[in-house]
């Protein structure tokens, strides 16, 4: 136990002093969040959206709902023809029609190229509208019978994406394990530990604990930072959030251990990890809402673990609908894979003989 704690402590220290890690787990996610802020608009009071939509004036209910969607500039028109011509001319980016049953979105495709936001607009409105139909006046998303803090929450692409930037912090676990199982061996750091009487599991688990804590704290820090920067308040379910982050960290560590075992050369494992991470981030709804993607690509995203991480995070902070079961299942899978891999590869970590 003493050894475990001591290793965890010193790993923690060496980790937070490492500028690269610091950048990757704390600064980079926040930079991304700020970039998203520029691309996807932001809550009121922080600049104007340039997306203009038209709505016919007899859709009063719809107008009320859409008004609450941040980042939209609404023009109310009396005739469909008028709406259509304005969209075609490009004075409006799109128009929303509602006949009481179905939504119709007319979009100017040149605007569509520039403003991917429009693409999700349909979903967003449908979401908001269906809640209104259900009698929820102010809120727009339900999380397990609990409603998000009314008034503060907004139907927002930005709000949907921001929790995802925590995934950057969490994904750093992949590389911390490549460092531990790969570079530490290669650079003969492990050798020095191997001549001491420590138990390999105390060593591995201590190292992992150190990494785990720093990653957990970084993710939470990132979450608080984006809330402050964008003046957003998420409705956070702490149990879900901590469970999601913790199990995701372990899951990403498992991926790192797996990559190190697969590619004997740590540099290769690192490169593959980077590539994989970029692919995963692209398809997990962190850079842009998943509804931008065609269906088959969305399905592809669902085979990648980061999709589930990002989704669990969004559910936990109340920007996506989801069930506790989703979070529990994901946690169980991630933690199990982690335990299996650590027990396989942890035992031999201090067997440093080079072949």
């Amino acid at each position: 136990m003493k050894v475990f704690l001591s290793i965890a402590l010193y790993r923690f220290k060496s980790f937070y002093r490492d500028t690269f890690t610091f950048f990757f787990t704390l600064v980079l996610p926040i930079i991304f969040a700020v970039i998203f802020g520029f691309i996807f608009g932001r809550p009121e009071g922080m600049g104007q959206s340039t997306i203009k939509v038209g709505i016919l004036k007899d859709n009063e209910d719809l107008i009320k709902v859409v008004e609450r969607i941040e980042g939209l500039n609404i023009s109310i028109l009396s005739h469909f023809d008028e709406l259509k011509s304005l969209v075609l001319k490009g004075s409006l980016d799109g128009g929303i029609l509602f006949d009481g049953k179905t939504f119709n979105l007319i979009i100017n495709f040149s605007s569509f190229q520039q403003k991917p936001f429009l693409r999700t607009l349909g979903d967003t409105i449908a979401n908001a509208y269906s809640l209104k139909e259900a009698g929820v006046e102010e809120g727009f998303i339900r999380v397990e019978e609990e409603f998000i803090d009314p008034g503060k929450a907004r139907v927002s692409n930005l709000g949907y994406m921001l929790p995802g930037v925590m995934s950057f912090s969490i994904a750093s676990s992949i590389f911390s394990m490549i460092a531990l199982f790969g570079y530490y061996r290669k650079r003969k750091i492990l050798k020095r530990f191997a001549v001491s009487p420590i138990n390999p599991f105390s060593f591995v688990l201590g190292m992992i604990m150190g990494n785990f804590l720093i990653t957990l704290l970084s993710s939470l820090f990132v979450l608080f930072a984006v809330q402050i920067i964008f003046n957003i308040k998420f409705y956070i379910n702490w149990e879900y959030l901590l469970l999601s982050i913790s199990s995701s960290i372990l899951g990403m560590m498992a991926l790192g251990i797996f990559l190190t075992a697969l590619f004997k050369e740590p540099q290769t494992a690192n490169n593959v990890g980077n590539l994989l991470l970029n692919i995963m981030i692209f398809f997990s709804g962190i850079y842009f809402p998943l509804s931008f993607l065609p269906n088959y690509l969305r399905t592809f995203g669902q085979i990648l673990p980061l999709y589930y991480v990002a989704k669990a995070l969004r559910i936990s902070v109340g920007v996506e609908e989801g069930t506790p079961n989703f979070i529990f299942s994901m946690s169980i899978i991630m933690v199990s894979v982690f335990i299996i891999l650590v027990s396989i590869f942890g035992r031999d970590i201090l067997q440093v003989e080079e072949k």
Partner: protein, 310 residues
């Protein structure tokens, strides 16, 4: 079980990598409280031998007895009692000297106070420096400090002075002598013959995985005969060298450095022969040195090569 004269005994130790016999049937016994030295050139098998005993590598064959106990590979119990400084010590970056010592100290049941170690290795003023910022000599002193955290009876130091300047080397020698005074047994590897000569109670000369000669430095030097060695720089010239042989001069010639070494009991006569012969062959002789024979000469005599091929 605690009653043993030799703290380490190895018998017929073997380790092969591909077709390289890194350790090829090594035997030795290490007396408690002594400084035991493996002296040999690069690739002789010193590190491999040490790391087998330290439990880092598994031998292909042979027996190891440590602290009077026969072991296949040392375990936790023995690791508590030994201190190791590897040939190349790599540490976790971003930790300070003191933190690194404290961390390793926490791995052992008993040991020294970290501040005392810092004092001993003379790194007190560097206690808060990150380990990556130390100079070569400071890093080696830290490596020795790490080997001392558990106040071990037996120390394995793999080339603790390689690459250091004479002053830094000297300061490490001082540390080792102090440790010996404290009654510790030190197993040292080196390819500096001065180091072995200065520190060692017992020297094993190692080459190509074998111990080719062992003894106290004095005995080893005596064993090659000759009271003095004459060294001169002279161009390679076969008739010159042939004639020296005819005159009965006992020499070796290193064509790479253009240096001739002659062992002799009669300095004046030998120097006369060399100079006269050189003149006859119209060769210039420079940088003449007359000195006592040393371990380098022992190695040269045994192998025809020099310990360090610079």
């Amino acid at each position: 079980m605690n009653n043993y004269k030799f703290i380490v005994e190895v018998e017929d130790l073997r380790k092969t990598y591909g077709n390289v016999k890194a350790v090829d049937g090594v035997n030795f016994k290490i007396k408690k409280g002594s400084i035991f030295t493996l002296l040999g050139p690069n690739g002789a098998g010193k590190t491999t031998t040490l790391e087998i005993i330290e439990g880092l590598r598994i031998p292909d064959g042979g027996n190891i007895k440590i602290f009077g106990k026969e072991v296949k590979r040392i375990g936790k119990e023995e690791k508590e009692l030994i201190g190791v400084s590897l040939q190349e010590t790599q540490l976790i970056s971003h930790l300070t000297v003191k933190e690194t010592l404290s961390m390793f100290r926490s791995f052992y049941k008993k040991g020294l106070k970290v501040d005392d170690i810092l004092e001993f290795i003379n790194l007190k003023d560097k206690a808060k420096s990150p380990v990556d910022k130390l100079s070569g000599g400071q890093k080696q002193r830290l490596a020795i400090g790490l080997a001392l955290v558990n106040d071990p009876e037996l120390l394995f130091l793999d080339e603790p002075t390689t690459g250091l300047d004479p002053q830094a080397r000297r300061s490490i020698w001082d540390l080792l002598l102090q440790l010996k005074k404290q009654g510790k047994t030190i197993v040292l590897t080196t390819h500096y013959m001065e180091e072995a000569e200065f520190l060692a109670d017992w020297v094993c000369i190692m080459d190509y995985g074998k111990i080719i000669r062992e003894g106290t430095p004095e005995d080893l030097i005596k064993s090659i005969g000759g009271e003095s060695v004459i060294e001169v720089d002279v161009e390679e010239n076969h008739s010159f060298l042939d004639r020296l042989k005819e005159l009965g001069v006992n020499y070796t010639y290193n064509p790479k450095h253009g240096r001739l070494l002659a062992k002799t009991d009669n300095v004046l006569e030998t120097i006369d022969s060399i100079l006269k012969t050189a003149r006859e062959c119209s060769l210039k002789v420079r940088n003449e040195i007359i000195r006592q024979p040393n371990l380098e000469d022992v190695f040269l005599t045994l192998t025809g090569r020099q310990l360090r091929e610079e």
